[in-house]
Symmetry: D2
Subunit: 350 residues, 4 copies
């Protein structure tokens, strides 16, 4: 009963199979394996972007930091939401890779950038001649860190603001599949057709062992990216094992299928949570993650039986009045069984 | 017939099996998986170092750059051989991770540091007060980039010089197993018993998909290393797949067995090369790599039949006089069959 | 009539004289001049800190960035007010010098850190294990960027919060003298006696040409600072001209006298502004800087006659309705004459 | 009798006068002073480069590091002579400013790059695809660190090699004036007419207190340089005092006159040294610096009487056999009197 994160689950059998199959004989290293050209083609087809530059790395943080750094000078600000992975969970990797660039924080409900807040942040950056930090790229997260979604229109609104200032846009798609499945749109619609310039296309949280594609719709800086990836020590010699994962992940739109499954699992979980006495679910979850407030006794029962998920604050105690409400986060990946979800609900209900 | 590099081969079946087995259910992410404590114990046992700090990363460049940076200030010099991976093949990753530190190059035959050259390099660094770059760690590669070995005595000689100046020592062990097998010594003897403070213990080139252990015999900077690893985007969420590889690699000293096999394969290759008319093998190979000079016609036959290995210069043409000698490098991993080696020899002999 | 900034004025005659006198014969370079030991002694005496490490640089940004970087890892956050020089006016120098560290912004009225806001910022940093940026030093500005002052008690309150978390504290004293004169306290009281660990002691804005002292009350990292200063290209060969300025500046507490004069000039200016019809001065100025709202017509008259100061927004037009209020900033240095101030007032009054 | 360095002497009276004159009233800060446009024009006229971007900083290390960083990526190598200021005396400032770029060392007699050595260094960089450090700018020093000179033809030869590879060229002109005076050529001839793209034009060692001009003949990266200067904390608020120095320095070619004087002083010194019994002067000095080997007794007499200059090794003892030869370096600036030189010679001769 691990609902702690979608990075706690296993690989999808097809992805594992691909690794097994790739483990045959010799392959040239460092991205020159025979699988990678097919991966490149498939990513391009999936994104309807025949010219895109496509690279693989093994962690989402590497994808984000390397992609952003390619379009960020050391004296630039990267515009990111206050509640975003680059700000909260990467130990300063964006600043490290971008030579000391700054994150300029944007507000907005549901971890989604408010257009006015973004406009304000951009207007107040780079407006004092040489004295201040200059304007760099805008990065948004889809699905967000709290499981909400930008609509296509909202993405377009954000990117339009960036474009007005001539800024590049990046989409942190660690949960790209969940978002795409929930919106029912195409990968192209959620990215370049909505004004996105570069994407971290996540596989790790959605059925892979550790692979993310970095996609630049304009390949002008492809070579620079390759140098940055190598210099950051993120170019794999046995690259075929990254390629194999990604190939399986894209095959027959497995990525989308798994994203949809994770969302469905979460919906089932939410439905169950609504039946827990006293439960409060402030925001209707849109992807594969739910935040809820539940009585302490419910948490005590579930966690006592081995359920894993996060409480807020993180040091919240299970000792105390039964009725006191404690906030929690639960995440579903594609691999959750209905039985496991039902078991959790059953425990929470008592 | 791929003799290009030991990073071109597959995983050992045991390593693959471990990945398959690890793909069950849920594991806490970021190094908190249930396999990692066993890996830590096993590394400590293997190195007879019960206090050692042990971490996993996925590339050799990450292992080297992160380990070195932990003991290098931006204004320090890292002493490395002119022919070393950190100097030649990492696109400046050590400088990037160590905030602009400098590589100070040491000479010596066979890609091994000459003690006098090292002494000279150290003495000429940090000797001009605040004006010059200061003295940082010494890194040596075992087996070296050209397949030679430091004897235990030679390692001790190098580390003694470093210690005299109070400098830390690092061993780049991308081919640790090959060296250890060839020397017939223990992992402890080749490292801390010879004065080494930190090790990049390679798995990738020797039967793994992508895993290297960073080992600090003194754990004082363990927490700093963890921050550096995360910030460098090298902390895997699905870390269990790194742990699994390393566990299998250490089980029953598989690492050592594979290192010995690769060396034996290379010995067989060398024996065969000696029968190629005109072949010159200047240095007796000590590990799993051989440099030879062969007539162009031999290369033409082998490469024409699909054999892969490197020529020097890298743009050497196969068109030209048959008898002209062209230098080449051939590397064996554990997975070479006798038949494959014999086939190559047969082609070269014509 | 230049009221744009206190960095627009001349050197005090005594400081210029010191430069002239220092221009005799030969002096050893790079801080080994014969004046510097006297400067060191005088700074130590002024701050009642006989063990302090004392260094000179030529710009306030260098003083701040170098001092902070000495106690900041690349993965740390520096806690600074949202309205501070390090955040707004140094083009990311702190991040550059501190290897990509982050500024964590603290709120509070009058550009002064609110203790709760600081507590909150610290508590929300470094609280997610290895995943997040860690806690670094706290820097506060005295006098602040908007001319307000922390009382001694307020400084102590801020530093107590920092100490509780084991964090170092830095005081950006570009306008140290103005603050000290206004508070009527000693240099020691405003710094280490209130819990400050390191100071940028400004001379440039208060009668010098370009010199700032960096003071560490605990000299443990003195050598590291020297390396950072040199590596940052801020160690002057003809250092005597920095030493000479600082010696004159400290002689007979000239620094304090000039700070007091600047404050008095500003008080006179404020008194005059209060007589301008329609003028609004929301906050009583505490040092040498005033923010006021004045009718456009007043600005038009003053600026038309050559007066220089800043309007907000910076592109505010002088064309438009006479009565519309436009915000402005006026700064006085020690060198303003009463006549000049009165002339400005006279123009504003019309 | 200070012959230790040309950075140990005073300002020329005209330069000091300019500072005194500049100390009048108010000037807009940060390079917006009224003197700077005249300086820009004069530099452009002096270098016959009407489009050049011209900036002032206060130290030679800042000039070099900032100029080079503007054309160097973090993954690039800067080609510099093994005996150069950027390599030996800047504590890694080039690497710091260029985000961890590497210095690739070139050999050659007399601290001058040997064309073959440069060609070799360039050819062996950037030749291993993404794995190795890439080719960055070439920097040469004129006059060199050992007082020798590149002829115009030699400069052109070096820059032609750089151009062949599409690399930018930088001239470290800390002793630009000495070189220009000795060669009897124009500033343009020694720079862009010989293929140089950017120059650190030194004032500090030749009669100024602390000012260097950075000149880009192609201004395409002017704005980036301004950001780098500010971010490096090298933009002076009271910039007028840098402008004033440089204006006086350029007035009536004072720079050239002082360079010639320093050279003449050195020639007189050399002539005298040749009369010291046992003296050996291996290379005929070409600018304002001489390396000689003199008997210990001569050093003992001179240094005992207070003469200052450097011995090699730097810890050479004055105690020991009278006849033993000890190497030394003596530097003359423009300000040396004939009497002072003669006194030194007299002491050395005994």
């Amino acid at each position: 009963m691990n609902f702690a994160s979608d990075n706690a689950g296993p690989m999808h059998p097809s992805v594992l199979d691909a690794i097994v199959k790739a483990n045959t004989g010799y392959e040239m290293p460092y991205g020159n394996d025979t699988i990678m050209p097919r991966v490149r083609d498939r990513v391009r087809a999936t994104f309807e972007a025949p010219e895109a530059a496509v690279y693989l790395v093994a962690t989402g943080t590497a994808a984000n930091a390397l992609a952003l750094s390619t379009y960020t000078n050391g004296w630039d600000a990267i515009f990111a939401h206050r509640v975003s992975h680059v700000e909260e969970d990467e130990c300063g990797a964006p600043e490290f890779y971008a030579n000391g660039a700054r994150l300029s924080l944007v507000d907005g409900a549901g971890a989604k950038m408010d257009p006015d807040s973004l406009r304000h942040a951009i207007a107040n950056t780079g407006n004092k001649d040489v004295h201040c930090v200059q304007r760099g790229p805008v990065t948004l997260t889809q699905a967000t860190e709290v499981g909400t979604l930008y609509s296509l229109k909202e993405i377009a609104q954000i990117t339009a603001i960036a474009k007005k200032y001539g800024l590049k846009t990046h989409l942190d798609g660690a949960r790209f599949a969940n978002a795409c499945a929930a919106l029912g749109c195409s990968a192209a619609e959620m990215t370049w057709k909505s004004g996105i310039d570069m994407v971290s296309f996540g596989g790790t949280k959605n059925g892979c062992a550790g692979v993310e594609a970095v996609i630049f719709f304009d390949p002008e800086k492809a070579w620079e990216f390759e140098l940055r990836r190598k210099r950051g020590a993120h170019l794999f010699s046995k690259h075929r094992f990254l390629s194999a994962q990604m190939e399986a992940y894209l095959q027959d739109d497995l990525w989308l299928e798994l994203g949809a499954k994770a969302n469905a699992n979460c919906a089932r979980l939410v439905k169950g949570l609504e039946t827990v006495a006293g439960a409060e679910i402030p925001d209707a979850p849109e992807a594969n993650m739910v935040f809820a407030r539940l009585p302490r006794a419910a948490h005590r029962r579930a966690m006592g039986a081995g359920a894993k998920y996060y409480l807020y604050p993180s040091d919240a105690s299970l000792d105390g009045p039964d009725d006191e409400m404690i906030r929690c986060r639960m995440v579903c990946d594609w691999n959750k069984s209905g039985a496991e979800i039902d078991q959790l609900i059953s425990l929470l209900r008592g």
